[in-house]
């Protein structure tokens, strides 16, 4: 059975769910760029607003946190690196290490910004069907020369579709090897090779089957385009997000 993951689309009928995905991608890009230069007060305002939106859209906040637990470990490392590499007024001195007030402030701010960007991504993914994200990317790529936007969109879709299948296969291969006591081999390189090669072989075989299945259903690059229509609410939301960005930059 495939492992359930909360990092995916959650059906709903909130404003966030109904916004045009092209506009949502624009909001994400704008807000992510703006948040890189925000101070504590602005970031606090933005975070409270985002949290409010997540609660309003009834997204699974708790399981979202659980899913992101490894990201928080990464944040700890980022925090440590910032704290230890930023000079300033020393708070703690221990042998070669020195922790400064500025280091703590900068480390905290950087981690908060990164967490905010990830929360934006979580909100986008949870309220937008993968096909809508794909359609929006395809729409943005259309005017770019030398990039086959239909192909890119199909590839994006296939990645989203097959990552869980590859994880399932990895888990199955791993279990089959555990059943033959692979854990007695302490060399991690040996274990990685023994897991990696069968997994890659199976993945390539599946890719072959997939090509046949897609051809059998008449796959062609000349397909029906996705249906994207901007409503008044999208322009209103764009104005609100634009104004908010300008406001927090000025704060």
């Amino acid at each position: 059975m495939a492992e359930l993951t909360s990092f995916g689309y959650f059906a709903g009928d909130s404003l966030l769910h109904n916004l045009d995905p092209r506009f949502k991608l624009l909001y994400i890009i704008a807000l992510s760029l703006v948040c890189l230069n925000l101070n504590f007060l602005s970031l606090l305002i933005m975070s409270v607003l985002l949290l409010g939106l997540i609660v309003y859209a009834r997204l699974p906040l708790r399981s979202g946190f659980k899913e992101l637990r490894y990201f928080f470990v990464l944040l700890v490392f980022v925090f440590m690196a910032r704290v230890l590499s930023t000079g300033g007024e020393s708070l703690i001195d221990f042998k070669f290490f020195s922790i400064s007030r500025q280091g703590l402030t900068v480390g905290f701010l950087v981690c908060w910004r990164l967490a905010f960007i990830v929360a934006l991504g979580f909100t986008l993914i949870s309220t937008t069907r993968p096909s809508e994200i794909k359609a929006a990317v395809q729409w943005f790529l259309k005017p770019v020369p030398f990039i086959p936007e239909q192909k890119v969109a199909i590839m994006m879709g296939l990645i989203l579709r097959f990552v869980p299948v590859i994880f399932d296969q990895a888990a199955e291969t791993g279990e089959a090897q555990k059943a033959r006591c692979v854990q007695n081999r302490k060399n991690p390189v040996y274990r990685l090779i023994k897991l990696g090669f069968p997994l890659m072989r199976r993945t390539f075989e599946r890719a072959d089957d997939l090509v046949a299945a897609m051809e059998a259903r008449g796959f062609t690059e000349n397909r029906t385009d996705p249906d994207l229509v901007a409503h008044q609410r999208d322009w209103v939301a764009l104005t609100v997000v634009g104004s908010l960005c300008a406001l927090v930059i000025m704060l």
Binding site: A2, L4, G8, Y9, A11, R129, P130, S131, G157, L158, L160, R161, P164, V165, D168, R206, D209, L210, A212, A213, M214, E215, A216, R217, G218, F219, T220, N222, R223, T224, D227
Partner: protein, 249 residues
């Protein structure tokens, strides 16, 4: 009327191995054909010629009188194919999107695509799971989704490659029911299997393959006595001298 006509079909793979050789076969519209044979007998290779996934090294395959290679897209719309591994066949990120994949390739209008997808999902009973991610479906549901994906192309012939592989009893019954319903609604059905038990009661023609050739072809009652000589187990009912009984009863 013969909907599929195969004349002297031979397929050689790139390494020189002969996949199938000298196949002559005509399939009537609306018939229910089962192709049996042990692993490696050439069943899947034969099926893949029906919609141009493989093209003949020698010989001709005609669909409704037209050679397959003349219009591959048309051939693929006309002959819907269900693969052995449903997981590899499902390409959409949601159930709805997977079923829409085929009609989108046919460049239909959005409204027509929606109509076809909803109709196909209703036929296989997955309309309530339209927003579900396919990898969370059960084995039987995945198989039904693959059937819906084929139905949305509105084919005349539907080809099933080992449709019951890895399915539990309820899953087998569901898939079998859909195959039988599709046959009743006028589709020509071709099923390959090495496990005849589940399907033989519904077939009106049985073909046995061995070594890439058709070695027996006739009604199931005529052919069933020869099965075990070609590595296919005789269905239990026939062993007991009874008539084959449907798994749907």
């Amino acid at each position: 009327m013969n909907i599929i006509e195969i004349e002297n079909l031979t397929h050689r793979f790139a390494d020189g191995t002969i996949g199938i050789e000298g196949i002559n076969l005509a399939i009537r519209q609306g018939s229910f054909v089962v192709v049996a044979g042990h692993n490696g007998s050439g069943k899947t290779t034969l099926l893949r010629h029906l919609n141009g996934l493989l093209l003949p090294s020698d010989g001709v395959v005609r669909l409704a009188g037209k050679r397959v290679e003349e219009d591959l897209l048309k051939a693929r719309q006309f002959v819907g194919m269900m693969f052995q591994d449903a997981d590899s066949q499902i390409v959409g990120e949601t159930v709805y999107e997977d079923v829409a994949f085929g009609p989108e390739n046919l460049c239909l209008e959005r409204a027509a695509i929606k109509k076809r997808v909803n109709s196909a999902l209703r036929v296989v009973g997955l309309q309530d799971l339209a927003d579900q991610r396919p990898h969370l479906l059960s084995g039987g549901e995945k198989r039904r989704l693959a059937i819906a994906g084929v139905l949305a192309m509105e084919p005349g012939v539907i080809v099933f490659d080992e449709p019951f592989a890895s399915l539990d009893y309820p899953g087998v019954k569901q898939v079998l029911q859909h195959i039988v319903d599709l046959h009743r609604s006028g589709h020509t059905i071709v099923v390959t299997t090495h496990d005849l038990e589940k399907i033989i009661a519904h077939a009106d023609r049985l073909i046995i393959m061995q070594g890439g050739k058709i070695v027996r072809d006739g009604s199931p009652v005529e052919i069933v006595g020869h099965l075990e000589a070609f590595g296919v187990r005789k269905p239990c009912a026939y062993r007991l001298g009874l008539e084959a009984e449907s798994w749907l009863n």
